[in-house]
């Protein structure tokens, strides 16, 4: 932590800031215990988290907004634990963010430049939104610079890069077919850097907080899966911890949303639930202070923490549309059509064969002329 101690020593630690804002010791430790549990750490790690927050000074944060709807920020603000929003998202920690900063115009650009030069290699870069490449990046221009140029500039000296939500992780709705702005995820732009993809539309607030706490506590990136998502939160399918899972294995399915099976709380697989192919913590952490999550409230998972979930629609159908055959062409429709054509072709071919191959089929001239002579039977 030499680099951070070089920073202004007069700046209070994160814990000191919490205390000054009225957080008592008990609540602070509860927060640490929560975060440890979310991250899947053993109990002793609570002390490690507490120690990190007590001793570490503010971590400079740059939160960029590109092509997005700010639902990631909104989700983060609604974290079940107020400390996250109050302290980590506090204006003291957040050096630059278009949505919340008081500064505007040249002033705000000055702050950004100051942060990325003064804290080179120390600041945390959080990105919300995809980056458009179409029309030379003209679809998203901030302070006269395209999102592409900005993200490259800001990422150069970042300590860690976190992509919030599906937009920054996989392009989300902007990148859906036909992707008019050529929206790209952050990882496709910064190919030489490791990007933490905190997936979801939006991600769960506690997941966002947990990733930040991990980076803060251990001073390194969390373990990531093959798609760049933190394993602590994205290693299990929504399906695996789903409350309706027993109905799936028993073959009890909701057929329509207004049938008796829906009232019984059966599995939503047949009405398009994408839980079996979606990796997220919805069914364990749930949303809004652990109140509920889509499947619990009777709606299938739409797979918002997976790439291309808009193109893998429709949401209310299990089978996804097959690419290249237009809208509403599932594998079944294509397969049945091809199968029908082939079966009809075979039938026609069979009829044709009897005419065209007449000579080859049946009794051959040679066969008729010389009936096989029975072998001489010895007594």
């Amino acid at each position: 932590m030499n680099s951070l101690t070089k920073m202004n020593e007069t700046v209070p630690t994160i814990y000191e800031q919490m205390v000054s804002r009225g957080v008592d010791r008990r609540d602070f430790l509860k927060f640490c215990a929560w975060m440890g549990a979310y991250l899947g750490l053993e109990h002793s790690a609570t002390a490690q988290i507490a120690h990190a927050i007590e001793t570490k000074r503010r971590l400079p944060v740059v939160w960029m907004h590109f092509q997005e709807c700010t639902c990631c920020s909104e989700s983060f603000l609604r974290s079940s634990h107020p400390i996250v929003a109050d302290i980590l998202l506090d204006k003291v920690s957040l050096d630059y963010t278009e949505t919340l900063q008081a500064a505007a115009g040249f002033q705000s650009e000055e702050i950004l430049q100051e942060t990325i030069t003064k804290y080179k290699g120390e600041y945390l870069l959080l990105i919300e939104g995809s980056i458009p490449l179409g029309a030379d990046g003209a679809y998203c221009v901030i302070a006269g610079k395209s999102a592409l140029d900005t993200v490259r500039e800001v990422a150069a000296g970042a300590k860690a890069i976190i992509a919030w939500g599906n937009c920054a992780s996989a392009g989300c709705v902007q990148a859906a077919n036909p992707n008019p702005t050529q929206a790209m995820p952050v990882s496709a732009i910064l190919k030489d850097k490791t990007v933490i993809n905190v997936q979801g539309c939006p991600p769960i607030a506690e997941v966002m907080a947990g990733v930040l706490v991990h980076v803060l506590t251990f001073d390194r990136l969390p373990q990531l899966d093959s798609l760049g998502r933190p394993k602590a939160f994205y290693s299990r399918r929504v399906h695996d911890t789903c409350a309706r899972r027993a109905n799936y294995d028993a073959g009890l399915f909701v057929e329509t949303f207004d049938d008796e099976n829906a009232r019984q709380g059966y599995c939503l697989y047949k009405v398009g639930c994408k839980g079996p192919t979606t990796y997220n913590s919805c069914s364990t952490m749930k949303w809004n202070n652990g109140t509920s999550y889509p499947i619990q409230s009777g709606h299938g998972c739409i797979g918002c923490s997976e790439a291309k979930f808009w193109d893998n629609g429709p949401f209310y159908q299990r089978l996804t549309n097959f690419p290249g055959f237009g809208i509403e062409a599932t594998a079944d429709k294509v397969g049945l059509t091809v199968g029908g054509v082939v079966a009809a072709g075979a039938l026609t071919h069979a009829v044709l064969t009897n005419f065209r191959k007449h000579e080859e089929i049946g009794e051959q001239p040679g066969e008729k002329a010389t009936p096989p002579t029975p072998p001489s039977v010895k007594p």
């Binding site: 294995d249 009890l252 997976e306 996804t320 397969g335 071919h349 191959k357 040679g366």
Partner: protein, 253 residues
Amino acid sequence: MNRSHDYQRVYVWEQPVRWFHWINALCIVVLGVTGFLIAHPPALMNSREASFSYWFGTVRFIHFLTAYVFMANFAFRLYWSFMGNKYANWRGFFPLTKAQLRQIWDVLKVDIFQFSNKPVETLSHNSMAYFTYTATGLLTIFQIISGFALYAPTSSSWFPRLFTWVVPLFGSEATLRMFHYSALWVFAVFTVVHVYLVFYHDYVEGHGVISSIVGGWKFMEKGQIEVEQATGMSAFPAKKTAPLPARKSAPLP
């Protein structure tokens, strides 16, 4: 048509090849049916608690179990393409010589579109069929890889985990699942064409193609065997250089 009807019995499909064929056929049927059920579970409702029934879980279990058999069987066939007789040899599955390409064209002309009636006689598969089996073999490999990649998250075994790298290539499991499921239709269409054409060849040519996959023997006009050996169409260099085992007609007692 003045064709010789002096037939000779030729042992074409060795026992391992026949076992492979039927195990493979059974696997495709089981995987196809269970795969279709997994994609479209029927509404088999009952009033019991979910914890007392497990039919959908059982269907999935059968699918996964059969997948292992399917894979092992295919792996064995790959091995046999190096060890088996010349009709099973791997070289046949890459019909790239001029003569083989011409034969593909001949098959299309004679058997599929029937412009011409000159028969295409081959002891094993014709080049067109070999080419088709190469394609289905590649599809089999895709099904094995994509299937185990989709199965990996529900398994704690090391083996399916070897295939987790496939998912990032397709972006998400939902996309991979769609391709895995679509291949079911390719196998279904293949089965229709395959079964039809086997009957067609048996009916038109009378070589006993259908029974050959049970017993291994085909019937061939003696002249045709000589022609084939002369043109070398199916005679790829193989380990066993012994002449074709012609069955001697045993004198009746």
